[in-house]
Amino acid sequence: MPPPITVVGPLAWLRQNLFSGWGNGLTTVLVGAALVWLLLQIGQWAVTEARWSVITNNLRLFLIGQFPADQAWRVWLNLAIISVLGGLSAGVYGQSTRALAITLAACQLILAALILASPLGIVPALALAFNAALVLVAFVVGLRGLVPRRPIAIGWLLSLPISFLLLSGMAGTPLPSISTNAWGGLLLTVLIATVGILLSFPLGVLLALGRRSQLPAVRILSTGYIELIRGVPLVTILFMADIILPLFLPGEWRLDRVARAMGGVTLFSAAYVAENVRGGLQAIPTGQIEASQALGLSTTQMNIHVVLPQALRSVIPANVGLFISLLKDTTLVTIIGLAELLGIGRAVLAQPESFGAYLEVYVFVAGVFFVLCYAMSQASYRLERALGVGTR
């Protein structure tokens, strides 16, 4: 006997779900009309009334803040390095890193399109489009197996210090020094978020392991740190990092303001990562630990090869959620005088020529955040699927 037919055409679907009775039909029509009216209103505003020139004329500010225009190539070059690494990884490591490469290419293409519409000129747009192409080329190169794994891993490790050197430069070299006070806009937002995510993750994992340690000193310190940080708002921690930290450090130790913000965000986020990871660690059955012990694995080997791979995989959704909110929380660094994306938005609004363009600026800033967060969330779904092979 054949199975009953469950697939229906679009018309039947409409009938079943939207017009199954007089009442439902009426609701569908009314709600539909309201939605169309709303979209038309927004569309009309976006196309005819909105002064998008406020965005395009200030695009450089939005993207890199006060970073000197003639040095902007350093940002694009930096992105090129990351693009090559991302592409290579996607080719060599496969599914799990492919999402990163797609995100890199897509975001740079969007930026290139934005730049084309602005007075910034065609060169940066071409540079970014070139970077997007680099991702693809590196992906193919990686897929062919032309590059071994180790140099890529080393490349990623070095990419963070190299980025800093490239962006901040050094006096007396072909790369003139640029004060971090000049860093701003999307560049600063992405930098703080990236450093925060990359550093708080390992720190959080260590704290989670520390909280379950057999050694009382380690356990108490980890637990104390986690509880202390979680009991304090991020704003307070940023103020502490900005104002109180320098009081404790010797006078000649002038920690950079951006570095202090990054430190604050990292230390804050690590406590939350630790609690997420602890949840994952608790879900590991004792049988896994007994099997590792019976095989003679040391505690460290067991954690690295058996416990953490399973625990971290299960907390990907929670951690990505955390990192998305970290990205959005970087807007709080405005409070200590840093001009990240939202801060730049308010600076732009203060210009006389953009008077009253609140909606345009905030819609743009919100849109940029949405794209970044959505990309992260998509990347995490793909990562989950790629790593989910064979578990359950």
Binding site: Q288, A291, Q293, G296, L297, S298, H305, G390
Partner: protein, 254 residues
Amino acid sequence: MTDEAAQAGANEIIVARDVHKWFGQLHVLRGINLTVKAGEVVVIFGASGSGKSTFIRTINRLEEHQRGEIIVDGIELTNDIRNIAAIRSEIGMVFQSFNLFPHLTALQNITLAPMRVRSHSRAEANTAGMKLLERVGIPEQADKYPAQLSGGQQQRVAIARALAMNPKIMLFDEPTSALDPEMISEVLDVMQSLARDTGMTMICVTHEMGFARAVADRMVFFDEGLIVEEGPPQQIFEAPTQARTRQFLSQILH
């Protein structure tokens, strides 16, 4: 110690003397004395809660004994972490619930410990791992993940994983009780050939009496934390001396 006694001692690979263990107030092992010779196959049976699983778990320190002594291959089990590591490297263990690593393939499950603990190269470990998978009869499943294998296949991978460390002793903690009935024999066959072909020292906690009759050199009956009776299978099955042994056997053999 006379020469003769020393000779006998050298052949004794596991010696447990007056082993006691409490879980809180519960006295689960109440003075176990058991000596196992190299190459011997010992089957431990008894009602659930009789302490048989707890006892074999004390042999590789998954449980700590609180009184008495356990000597494995001349090394006494103490709190010294080096002693524990040395003893664990000589003992392989197979669990009731397999405890395979779900994020690793069958072959990776087998090669993990040789590569990390014994520092074997990946190629070396893979070759040895494939040989073991052939020995347990499932080389074609090497790249599958545990969740993609049947219970019987998973337990055979678990046996191969324990064998990969070249242990002198294998402990089996109810290896077939979590299996569907039709898969029990494939696991028992592997265990049987292990005992027959390699002369491995084995301690099995099991209620598979057919297996015990065919393979065991000695059977040990646990009841309420004590060894009530031990002897060769023939004697246990045909002429048990203790009333409790008789009663238990009559309950599980129909």
